[in-house]
Symmetry: C2
DNA sequence: TCTAGGAAAGTGGACGTTCATTCATTAAAG
DNA sequence: CTTTAATGAATGAACGTCCACTTTCCTAGA
């Protein structure tokens, strides 16, 4: 059948999604018009609707893509050992790497997009579910690790594993906000201090 | 001059602002139409423009109001001692009270609004300045307190005061996000765990 | 190897709707 | 009776989406 290659189709889809991502990061989901995305992508208006049913579907796709990237970032930090029973040091280092990545200039656009996703999750149930699922995995992993460490008496027993996991994630989220508002935040100092704190409450 | 009382004017202004706040918390700034606010407030469209030059000015007013409320919340937690040189326990308790307030059901709408403010700050320079200013005060206060505590050797010297202050604020911000996404988050466990952590890194 | 035909890729102006804002007008207060 | 508060239909711009149309590419028949 006369079609174009599959590679071309996925490339076009990515072309649109990348443009949409840039627009959404810059202006938010609802201050970005379809025309904006059309201009940014260099593609005609009509064609966009061959790849996405509408703006809402594009937003969902962007949110999915964002969480996939986040997941990849977390897994990359674990140095690809493939070990399901991660050690404390491995997970802690992956966490610190994640916090370190906040300070990289090339990550800024991605972080800005993330903040828009977080705000949209407040309003749209489908996106809220995606965000929750994206956070659930890392949280459960961390909580299990902390729980195990408590068994070894390495972590004080009065710390609730799930609560502590939530707090660690909260630190990441809050630092993303502060960095996005003020690029001059000293990320190195944050990481060093966070490392010191981790050593105090979850010694290896 | 034939006018209505000043009290009436400020009441009307608040009537509009309250309605706008409810709409913005529910739908975000840019999915809320002026018609929505008009309906929610029970006031005619034209009258709104006697009190606010336009939608943008209303958003600014809402952001200001939000930070004033936050400031009041923080000061209320310090039990009105009026002491400029706050003690560690006083500030720590104010901080924990602030985190505790996240769990109060009647605060949810306010938190949802806050998340919208944070996202808008990414895009709009004027709002970003307001948000930064709102965070700067508490951060400086906390950093100074930590710095003083380090002088007394109560806090490890390898913790950067400003970084630690940022992390504490980040915890608040992240927990707001998580609570807004999932009301069933166990706030009591969070506060208890956070209290234990505070005792470890900033002993009194 | 060449070419006609069909199917999908791609275009961009048109469409109905919704938006923020205005203004001619009425109601009410002093 | 003058001044201001208050109304809400009107306005034009901008929005998301659609669709009639053109271009491009693959296949089939010679």
């Amino acid at each position: 059948m006369p079609k174009v290659s599959d590679a071309h189709l996925t490339a076009r889809r990515r072309q649109i999604l990348d443009a949409a991502g840039r627009c959404f990061a810059r202006d938010g989901f609802h201050r970005t018009s379809m025309q904006d995305i059309v201009h940014e992508s260099g593609i005609s208006a009509g064609l966009v609707y061959r790849y996405f049913a509408g703006k809402d579907e594009m937003i969902i796709a962007i949110v999915n893509q964002w969480h996939e990237r986040r997941q990849a970032l977390i897994e990359a930090g674990q140095h690809a050992t493939g070990d399901a029973n991660e050690s404390r040091d491995l997970v802690a280092e992956a966490y610190l790497d994640l916090v370190r990545s906040i300070g990289q200039p090339q990550a800024l656009e991605d972080l800005r997009l993330g903040v828009q996703v977080w705000a949209e999750a407040v309003r749209t149930p489908a996106i809220r579910e995606l965000v929750r699922r994206g956070v659930d995995g890392p949280r459960t992993t961390a909580a299990n690790l902390i729980s195990r460490a408590q068994g070894n008496s390495a972590v004080p027993a009065d710390l609730d594993p799930d609560a502590l996991a939530r707090i660690l994630i909260a630190i990441y989220q809050g630092l993303v906000l502060q960095t996005v508002w003020d690029e001059s935040v000293d990320n190195d100092a944050l990481v060093a201090t966070l490392e010191a704190i981790l050593d105090m409450i979850i010694p290896s």
